[in-house]
Symmetry: C2
Amino acid sequence: MTAHYMTASEARRAMAAGSLTPLDLTRACLGRIAEDDARTRAWICMNGAAETQAEAIASSDPRPLAGIPVAIKDMIDTGDMPTTHNSPLYGGHRPAADAPCVEVLRAAGAIVLGKADTFEFAAGGRHAATLNPHDPTRTPGGSSSGSAAAVGGGHVPLALGTQTGGSTIRPAAYCGAGALKPSWGLISTEGVKRYAVSFDTVGLFSRSVEDLALLADVYALPEAPAATEGRLKIGVCRTPYFDQALPETVALFDALEDMLSPVADLVPFDLPAGFDEADELHRCVMHCEGASAFLNLVRTRPTLLHDDFHHRVELRGGYTQRQHYEAYDSLALMRIEMERRMAGVDVVLAPSAPGYAPKLENGLRPKENPVFNACWTALQLPVVNLPVWAPGAELPLGISLIAPRAHDRRLLALAGRLDGLLDQRQAVANF
Amino acid sequence: MTAHYMTASEARRAMAAGSLTPLDLTRACLGRIAEDDARTRAWICMNGAAETQAEAIASSDPRPLAGIPVAIKDMIDTGDMPTTHNSPLYGGHRPAADAPCVEVLRAAGAIVLGKADTFEFAAGGRHAATLNPHDPTRTPGGSSSGSAAAVGGGHVPLALGTQTGGSTIRPAAYCGAGALKPSWGLISTEGVKRYAVSFDTVGLFSRSVEDLALLADVYALPEAPAATEGRLKIGVCRTPYFDQALPETVALFDALEDMLSPVADLVPFDLPAGFDEADELHRCVMHCEGASAFLNLVRTRPTLLHDDFHHRVELRGGYTQRQHYEAYDSLALMRIEMERRMAGVDVVLAPSAPGYAPKLENGLRPKENPVFNACWTALQLPVVNLPVWAPGAELPLGISLIAPRAHDRRLLALAGRLDGLLDQRQAVANF
């Protein structure tokens, strides 16, 4: 297998066996980027010292990510590269230090190859220039466009993104990447550009569930209380928004029982009453918190600031600050009831996106639909995206697996049991 | 009145009347700092360009804080001065930009005179060197020690601090400063060192309620739905922790009815069942979120890191991450019930601290007791500290006024009606 298509775990094993060095892997990834990124445009800025840094790491280095190249969404501070948030207002911004989530990766031995493109402030305004690595006439999804495309396109095995609505899980689905949006609050978002503090989450991209578990170790995500042996009981949740699912997603859900029957029984998951308001409550909190997050830009750089952000500060999506707190309370009650119901199944399964990555419209990105993601983000729940490839398919779909808060590692263990059943390509492993 | 003892609002009026310039005021404050700070040690670093910046501001400048000197707690990023978090690990740290909360102040015309001392990471480890401006044998309180002492000591009319437990309200009480801890989430904490994301709040210090309202305008804090005319109904809440109140606080609460009788009727405030667990729930969330916040320090700089932070990351105060989420849920239910009960009164009144600022012990700061503050922080509620000076007293006490979330401006309007009744010194106005 070409080194740049290896997962991080495979690469680590090859390094331990002496058949791959960190420099080999970094060069393979840089070569793949040179070959593909003129088209895919996942990257905003490359780390000119990457090869030097790779050369300094021994193949025998025991750190969990020693010599593994990663992409960092350009919403996240790096001390050695600019951090622009894809905004002309921050075009010259050079943070003084890495964000803690990047420091933790580098301390584990990872090599930051560069910064990945994003929607402006992960919210609106300017879109990422990134195209879908599987079809350049389609969006890669956003806002973590570059991170998803870099992993899905074979540039790097791992990437960091962020999610406030569906900005990790949806682009992962569109680009055929695995992803974990952890339980809210477990990975520090210090040094990550603020949007909505109650929802902002560092998202993890990889090409295998095994690699997501490796990252979960690195970030000290919590252990699960129970094992995952035996036949699984999966709660299938079409969500209240299934009328927005496209035919390919409807067909996938009709086929799920057959696909997963080797290891699991599927039961309908009964959502709490009022769950159909979760998307609206998410929107209220996101807009009200965004009004605080972007106030400084309106006060200091109003002329160049995109109208999206003026509107967020001035209009708060039409909500009052009192509604903002009432939305916190409604979501808190929904979290309690949701987890009570989740106790009856091993895991909840839902769509990661309406369907295949949408086509660009006159060269521009279509409006993103976060309706299958925002509800889980609003409930603070951990979500894994598993790519689904039908036999012969040229585009991936995505399945979301959802667990109670703090069950992140148990969720990954469960996801690992389903992964191979959803990828039905006769292709190279993991890609 | 000496200019450095003016409130910001008084100074703005003097500037509008042509009797004071921004440079006059800045020089008066710098002179007071030169005179007092060898003793009080409120400041870590001064802005060498302050006089130049003041000179560039016209007395007629209409911005709300034009020419007003402020102190910034050294937990908050400044682009023109180091930000050390009072930690040797960040001794050389130079942020690339102001935190948004500082940008908003400067855009309103404020002059940042310098950085104010703090407990290390506003959490533990190294204490501030600051002493109480009214008695150098006593603590100024923490963690916003320098901000409270600078305002209480007449160095500057306004300061920013932070509060995760009681780090704004308690030092304000000990130093005789007014303060507002806004409803959680209304002022962006981006660029403020992370401790516990669910609680971290930018706190505002001033020498008058009028000035807190000025800051509330600058930060676009929400308007209140109702006016505050007529006789007030105040819910007196001794809290479940009143056995930790010192005799001076017990005496104050016995005298409150007489003091406030000109404008208010006092009724006992009936707390929700289980409220006595709020302090413990706060502790659980703070420790679990702190474990995420400080993980990068353990991974990158373990040798020099104070044991306080090793323990936070490794032990999480003894809590599991699952307990962390259950604490979120319990606090959310308590918020709902608390606000239901608050609908029966205009405002809730409680102690800001156990009593007078404690004496230093062998030159070291005594352990801080946040028990009268953490419960309100945990409930996201806005809190105002009003200084209480008995006739002839040499030390202040503090009263906390608490309102429902998003009622920050209504709370300030109510506080303005009580302020003059609590300060019984025959002294210069506002100080």
